[in-house]
């Protein structure tokens, strides 16, 4: 048992994937010699060489376009987009090519590409460095979107994503890169399917649905809610597209109240789809409407104001108060 950080979990997962499959390449800005701005790819170029760990020009569209070509020739590229707000030059390639080729070729061609994006705020960074664009990808048919929230999931999920024949946008909670957890290395297989939600805290009174950086926040809120006499369930969605509806519905039918928490802006965020699905499927079970605690419908603010923007313990608990008030 070793205690590793979330960043180290990704690093170890990438290393394992590269060791297991010589077709796995990783590419991105400053990922080779520097080891990535978060040091997530540290040491990989040294061990696997410049042909498999590729420092690219500062051109996101080129990174993804190159990866499309490599994927067509049988490689499994793992692309790093340095920060969430930098992905948009690549959005055309992702939406128009990565997401469509499998469909366009009637299933003859696969796109086993993983696009890693450190996302979300909370590190006091400048503009373009703290965004949560996950629904922009989740809304695109042909893409799968997942987010890890802890080191162990990070280690396994990146490997599962790389071994998937479908393109996967892989969101990493950048403010949790340095959070640590025990990783049991004697486990040979991933303990959990990639697109399955996980109940990280059992409860009876209401369910907090979350993913990525908000999982820790929600678990803390659930612990704080104990002093209010409330026993909250916390579900880490892990997969935003597709949603694991079975786990979501089971939890709502159990607790009868749901609050979705994410950093992404409220309107048309992941919570909107989840609320709609739950309302359709669990209508008779609901004691209250599905509520959302989310970022505001504004651009991400300057870093000194980000604590006002990000859902925190109190915002989550206020959401719980509201959902319990019906």
């Amino acid at each position: 048992m070793a205690k590793i950080s979330l960043g180290k979990g990704i690093n170890m997962g990438l290393r394992a994937a590269m060791e297991n499959d010589s077709k796995v390449l990783i590419m991105g800005e400053d990922i080779g010699k520097l080891g990535g701005v978060f040091r997530v790819t540290e040491g990989l170029q040294k061990d696997f060489g410049e042909d498999r760990v590729i420092d690219t020009p500062l051109a996101e569209s080129g990174i993804i376009g190159t990866a499309v070509g490599l994927a067509l020739r049988g490689y499994r590229p793992v692309c790093e987009i340095q920060f969430d707000g930098f992905v948009f030059p690549a959005y055309d390639q992702i939406v128009s090519q990565v997401a469509k080729i499998h469909y366009r070729s009637m299933g003859k061609l696969k796109m086993p590409i993983v696009i890693r994006i450190p996302f979300g705020g909370g590190i006091g960074a400048v503009e373009h460095h703290s965004e949560s664009p996950e629904t922009l990808f989740a809304h695109v048919a042909g893409l799968k979107v997942v987010a890890c929230s802890d080191p162990v999931d990070a280690y396994w999920m990146i490997q599962q994503a790389i071994s998937s024949d479908d393109p996967i946008v892989f969101f990493e909670p950048k403010r949790r890169y340095h959070e640590k957890a025990e990783l049991s290395e004697d486990t040979a297989n991933a303990p959990f399917p990639l697109h399955q939600a996980k109940v990280v805290r059992e409860g009876t009174d209401a369910t907090l649905f979350c993913y990525g950086p908000m999982v820790k926040t929600c678990v803390q809120a659930a612990e704080a809610a104990v002093e209010d006499g409330r026993n909250l369930e916390v579900v880490d969605l892990r997969s935003i597209a597709p949603l694991d509806l079975a786990t979501i519905f089971a939890s709502v039918k159990k607790t009868r109240r749901a609050v979705v928490v994410h950093e992404a802006p409220l309107s048309l965020g992941p919570g909107s789809e989840l609320a709609a699905r739950v309302t359709e499927e669990c209508f008779y079970h609901l004691e209250a409407p599905v509520l959302r605690v989310a970022g505001y419908d504004t651009p991400y603010p300057p870093s000194r104001m980000e604590e006002e923007y990000l859902p925190d313990l109190d915002r989550v608990l206020e959401g719980v108060d509201r959902v319990m008030g019906y």
Partner: protein
Amino acid sequence: MGIQQFRLPDVGEGLVEAEIVSWKVKVGDTVKLNDTIVEIETAKSLVELPVPFAGVVTELLVAEGETVDVGTPIISVQTAEATPGDLAPSAAGTGAEDMVPSLPDGEEIEAGKIGGAAPGGRTAVLVGYGPKTTEPKRRPRKGGSPVAAQPEVVPAPVVAAPEPSVAKSNEISGSVHVLAKPPVRKLAKDLGVELAAVTASGPGGVITRADVEGYSAPPVSAAGHIAAAAPVASGLGDTRIPIKGVQKVMAQAMVASAFTAPHVTEWITVDVSATMDLVERLKNDKAFRDLRVSPLLIVAKAVTLAARRTPIINAAWDEAAQEIVLKGSVNLGIAAATPRGLIVPNIKGAESLTLPDLCAALNNLVAVAREGKTQPADQAGGSFTITNVGVFGVDAGTPIINPGEAAILAFGAVRKQPWVVDDEIVPRWITTLALSFDHRLIDGEKGSTFLADVAAILEDPARALMF
């Protein structure tokens, strides 16, 4: 005192090297914090670098025109104090040492390096102040604990609902929760109906609006109510209503009482005109400003006073111990017809309350009962009950004693009737009081004394001074 070395920082994201273009200081110069010391050229631009400490320049470690890796020491400064914490975040964390694996994997990382500690309880990162490492604390809540402030919003603990009718909903949810659409839940809440107790008739075990309305109809009139609602009652045969909830509790209590305690009922007709005058006066008294004063208040007060003279009225028969228990205080029960049926909440220690306090307690008891929010604790521990059948327009009856008590007083309708006063027939406010008592404890004399005392106070409230 110490020599500080300034390492070439990463001024952009992921810069690995830069050329020293020109030095702005020379050996022996005194520099202040953030003085510009050097101009460098990176892959992106020409940049002037400030020095992150103050002191005297002792050495320039790199010549102009040379290209060096990020993290290479470029200048030495003799400082007054050696405080690595002074290092600006931009200068920290990208030293050449970072090229060797520095991913956190168990060991502590040096402060200022990526993944290490940063000022303000944060973790150092390349871009930004870094994520906070401090544990979040919640703000104090407005209005105290939400549980205490709004108890009604906290879901009742799901008492295992062993209702067989609800069980059929379980095959869907795999839980004991009831199924109902939101407006039906609202209706049930408004009517004070516990959904778990309602028989579901909808598809898949869903409780319908009609289920809730049917359940919430007062038990006494339920049969008539349903028959009336049925379009062709005669052609539909019998209506069968499951016995449960409040009705079941009432039935058990009445059977237990009626066939255990030998009941004797006495009644008395009394002129309560003086009481009615008193009620009118109290309504205008500022002590009762926000209260609803009714004749029932005076009856309640009279009962507590009369019980003082006849304590056996406020007592219980303890069959197991073979003892009679004279109660220390009068927990005065008021029988209330609620949407859910008959319940008997009681006012604890009624004998010790002033008249305004007793009035407030009565008002509150009625309001809570009407909302269907009477708690079990409010109904427990009663010692004497008043049933105000007069509100239904009847004169009297033979009430059945609430189990665990010794007597019950029925207060009939108060109406104007011809009454003989000084040999003349005049219209007066007349009512009938009926007292049922448990003849195991209370003999005819005691019962009669108590009833006559209550009647005397109502006839002339001034007599209350004698008790």
